[in-house]
Amino acid sequence: MSARNSTTWNLEWVSKARVNTQAVLKRAQQVQGRKVAKKQWQAAWLLKAVTCIDLTTLSGDDTPSNVHRLCMKASQPVRRDLLKNMDMHDKGITTAAVCVYPSRVADAVKSLKAANSSLPVASVATGFPAGQTPLKTRLDEVRMAVQDGATEIDIVINRTLALTGQWAALYDEVRQFREVCGEAHMKTILAVGELGTFTNVYKASLVSMMAGSDFIKTSTGKESVNATYPVAIVMVRAIRDYYLRTGHKVGFKPAGGIRTAQEALVWLVLMKEELGDDWLTPTLFRLGASSLLADIERQIYHYVTGCYAAYYELPMA
């Protein structure tokens, strides 16, 4: 990774942000109308989606055994015979990472090591999902996840600061998270469902990027409203704005409620339309999902065989 992203605090930039809700909604509809061609195009795009997935389990009942299964699925996301048929078996198709709670990081690292996989482990942190714990414990949480071997940290922002307009304070907090992340990649979850307006989403995106986030991420998956296309358009526009001003490319990760292959395609289209092809790689685009992979695999099965698979025909996660 070249010089890592960070910028000094710039209040003027944040306060000038303006977003027109209706125009964004219209743009979102246009993006959804842009179609990818069928057959091999669709298969290729779906495989690309697979390589961008942060395969996730974030449940109270996670144990070493289901985390292990998740890791194995992440390293072989699509049945090998299907890949072979498309001549993609030797192209290193894996998901982008696995994503777990801090306490499960050690389990995931162990499973992947055992399977000789170099797949990164991402950990949510900082009082996920609400972020309503003291700053000290949130910082400690990041430290411990990094110590346990997580190379990517998904932090959540403090919504209280965002909603009360304390953008400078938010900048400071995120900055501190970034420091304790050290070498680990930091993805900042904005929890857009709780920010109220698109303008707030835009501002929170800018603040998070200035404070050094490598990615900005829509939601925890635990709010009532998750990753929607309009909100994503607002965030990727902030990314574009940031890129135009600083030259840093910050990544984008929608998460929460993404379940079908069709949706995955729309997400890729959205990135391509708004940010261009550069953002169509796992270094700049991730999809946070758990059940999405199963649907994509079924679609690929259909492309290869011409039949629709039963879920039990494909390996479970």
Binding site: R18, Q22, Q40
Partner: protein, 799 residues
């Protein structure tokens, strides 16, 4: 083709291309065309007719591939076809207009249903003909106007349909614009002859067939195709009582000139050649604005041309985003290969004048394709700004302040539409009010709905389409005398109104009563004619009543200057304040009623009782207009989409009025009241024969609190002054009562620059002694105030 098919999953995985979208087979449309053996006839009297040995026109479909091309053949209608069509349309009109409003509405409702059934075939045929149109938009149009058809007699009881209406739409228009005129015309009970551009003949013919299936009586809708000469033939047909045209400025001008003197009222929508400002203010959501302009400016079938105006402080962000968003955009197909050289010349010229280009890719060496191109840093005089060629070009200009932005937007002969981008509500509304265009979209562009009328200003047209306002072009007040049909007289247009008047010393000079010398009234001051000449005002008996100024073009010019200065202020006054001024004017007239009656009597020779009655009516008429000042308001139309829209009647600006001979005072105050109440300034030319009451009215104007310049009265030769009014571009409208030649002259002259015209031929002897003015129909004043305003629709997307 082969290389595309052989792309492997891995290739695409790396390149992440979209892949070509599957081309449509257009089975339904092809089947329909085959039923007609690819050769489309005319649609006359409820069915297809294919007269033999006519010239034909070949229309090739958009796929252009030889192996499956399905070119269509259209027939060029001949003289006898046009007259057959006219006869069938008149018969159709009779049947259609005699139906009850409810029955007509039912047909239109059924049309909406039938259209839904044909929607697949319809849209395929539109795509083949390269005039894409969503059938849901047509269905909405049918539903909307079915409502007006139902309500015509209830809501517009004193209006009658015009008769046989010719609707001419040139090939470069949207297919939708045909039906935006046809449906209101039918809803009001007219019969229609459509002359579509050759390109869209096929879908237009299909739609005519759909109308018949919906139960439209035979002859009510006819479609004839052919070359340029056809349009004039249709218009000149004795059955045609109104013509409306949609297309480019050049075509419209040509047509208007051809029709001068035929006595066919004509209106033009010249949206095709309109250049519209796309204004991005500092306070805008820049990303959305840039997305908007890219969508608007670089699509294949553009509604109109855009010029991007950006506030200087946002220049870099806009240019940066344009560059980023445009990378990788594909080349846009041009309408024809010929356009390619137009585009290239324009780009070259712009570059020579120092413009820099933002292009998505270098232009391909040949062929009818061109990449989306932004021309940055152009100056307004560059021809790419004033007359951009058809193609994916977008001139980019900058402005410093909000005020300058509006000025830049208004500094154009066009007045179709504007798109403005700002998150500041006050700025948005103020800008929307100050732009001199028919449609303003705030934070959006090109939104259309039948309930929002589109009306052009300046060179973009003199007619309103859509909404309730769009119905009135197809109606006339029940008791109004119609413009008589005529054949053009041979007229030297350049010589019209240029004959110098000669002052003759009247014979029988009577030293006991020296006639007074009267001035004209310009900019609130009494003044002599610029030429210094005078005319004699004589009584019906031939006695000299007075000498009046013999005004000419310089006087008109001075009056326009004065009017332009005060009109904006007059408009800014609250409508209540305008009402008070007009009430005061009525009051002053009341106080001088005896003098005015005497003046009328002396001038026209009618009895004193009649003269008194005329004054009485005039006072009441003025009070009517005073009362209407703050009652004629816009509307907030309910819309099917989310959003807020409103529709405002706005003043035209400066109106030139050539007054009739009959009822000289009553006409004067009726027309003055209508124009001034709505916020216009007027330049009035009193009747050449009966100017005295108007001259005496000047004294009443002088003491009124209507600002000097809002009303000017210029006496003189009618033809001379008409010519001067016609040749002043600042005059937005001319209301004319006068000779057949005058009407012909105005029709010929006022199409470039375009004016709104309300023409009346007074040549026939007025048997009823001005009954039209003294006993007006209930729709009399409505017609007048509708003539005195232009409509502006403002659309703001909201939740």
């Amino acid at each position: 083709m082969a290389s595309v098919a052989s792309k492997t999953v891995y290739d695409i995985f790396q390149s992440m291309e979209y892949g070509a979208s599957a081309s449509t087979t257009a089975t339904a449309a092809r089947t329909w065309l085959e039923q007609h053996s690819q050769s489309l006839g005319l649609f006359v009297d409820g069915g297809f007719v294919r007269p033999v040995d006519r010239q034909t026109l070949r229309v090739t479909d958009s796929t252009g591939e030889s192996h499956n091309s399905c070119s269509m053949i259209c027939i060029c209608a001949k003289e006898e076809d046009v007259s057959a069509c006219g006869v069938s349309a008149s018969a159709g009109f009779k049947a259609w207009s005699e139906l009850s409003a409810h029955r007509r509405a039912k047909v239109l409702l059924r049309l909406a249903n039938t259209l839904q059934r044909y929607s697949q075939c319809m849209s395929e045929l539109c795509v083949l003909s390269e005039c894409p149109c969503s059938s849901s938009a047509l269905v909405r149009l049918a539903h909307y106007y079915a409502g007006w058809a139902q309500l015509r007699d209830t809501l517009m009881p004193n209006w009658t349909p015009r008769g046989v209406v010719a609707i001419v739409v040139s090939a470069d228009c949207q297919f939708y614009s045909i039906w935006l005129k046809v449906l209101p015309a039918l809803a009001m009970g007219n019969a229609v002859i459509v002359v579509p551009g050759v390109k869209m003949a096929a879908p237009a013919l299909l739609l005519a067939q759909v109308f018949m299936e919906a139960g439209l009586p035979a002859g009510v809708l006819n479609v004839v195709t052919g070359d340029c000469a056809l349009v004039a033939r249709v218009a000149q047909s004795i059955h045609t009582s109104y013509l409306t045209f949609c297309g480019s400025k050049q075509d419209g001008e040509l047509l208007a000139k051809q029709l001068a003197g035929w006595g066919v009222p004509t209106s033009l929508s010249l949206s095709v050649s309109a250049v519209c400002p796309f204004i991005i203010f500092e306070s805008a959501d820049i990303d959305s604005a840039v997305d908007g302009v890219i969508e608007a400016a670089f699509k294949k079938n553009k509604d109109w041309q855009w010029v991007l105006c950006v506030q200087e402080s946002m220049w870099d962000s806009v240019v940066g985003r344009l560059k980023l968003r445009m990378t990788g955009m594909k080349c846009v197909p041009l309408a024809s290969e010929a356009h390619r050289s137009l585009v290239e010349t324009a780009v070259q010229q712009a570059v020579q004048q120092g413009a820099t280009l933002i292009q998505s890719c270098p232009p391909p060496s040949t062929g009818g394709l061109y990449p989306p191109t932004v021309l940055c840093g152009l100056a307004p005089p560059c021809s790419a700004v004033t007359t951009p060629p058809p193609g994916p070009l977008l001139p980019l200009l900058s402005f410093r302040s909000v005020v300058e932005g509006v000025t830049l937007g208004n500094h154009s002969p066009h007045g179709q539409a504007a798109s403005i981008w700002t998150e500041d509500l006050t700025l948005a509304l103020e800008t929307a009010r100050s732009l001199k265009v028919g449609s303003v979209w705030v934070n959006s562009h090109s939104v259309t709905d039948p309930s929002l009328p589109q009306s052009g200003r300046r060179d973009s047209g003199n007619c309103t389409n859509g909404g309730k306002e769009g119905l009135y072009q197809f109606l006339c007040p029940s008791l109004t005398p119609r413009m008589p049909r005529s054949t053009p007289r041979s007229l030297d247009y350049s010589a019209f109104g240029t004959a110098a008047s000669t002052f003759m010393v009247p014979e029988g000079f009577d030293p006991s009563s020296v006639p007074r010398s009267c001035s004209q009234f310009i900019g609130g001051k009494l003044c002599k004619a610029d030429s210094g000449c005078i005319r004699v005002v004589s009584s019906p008996g031939g006695a000299v009543l007075a000498y009046c100024a013999d005004g000419g073009r310089k006087d008109i010019r001075n009056a326009v200057e004065a009017a332009l200065k005060v009109q904006p202020g007059w408009l800014r006054k609250s409508s209540a304040a305008r009402a008070q001024s007009l009430y005061a004017l009525a009051d002053s007239l009341d106080k001088r009623r005896r003098d005015m009656a005497a003046s009328i009597q002396a001038q026209t020779g009618i009895s004193m009782d009649e003269a008194n009655e005329e004054v009485e009516l005039s006072i009441s008429r003025l009070s009517d207009w005073a009362a209407r000042c703050d009652k004629q308001s816009g509307v907030v139309p309910p819309l099917p989409q989310t959003g807020s829209a409103f529709l405002i009647p706005e003043a035209l600006g400066v109106v030139g009025i050539v007054l009739p001979d009959t009822r000289p005072l009553l006409c004067l105050v009726s027309l003055l009241g209508a124009a001034v109440a709505m916020g216009n300034a007027v330049i009035m030319v009193p009747s050449e024969k009966h100017p005295l009451p108007a001259i005496d009215f000047i004294q009443i104007l002088q003491v009124s609190d209507i600002p000097g310049g809002v009303v000017s009265i210029i006496t003189g030769g009618r033809d001379q002054l008409t010519q001067a009014l016609a040749n002043h571009s600042e005059i937005q409208a001319i209301w004319y009562w006068g000779s057949v030649e005058g009407c012909q002259f105005l029709q010929y002259t006022c199409c470039s620059p375009l004016k709104r015209m309300w023409l009346h031929c007074e040549e026939e002897v007025d048997e009823e002694g001005g009954r039209y003015w003294t006993h007006p129909s209930p729709s009399f004043e409505e017609e007048m105030w509708r003539e005195a305003v232009v409509w502006k629709s403002v659309w703001i997307p909201t939740a």
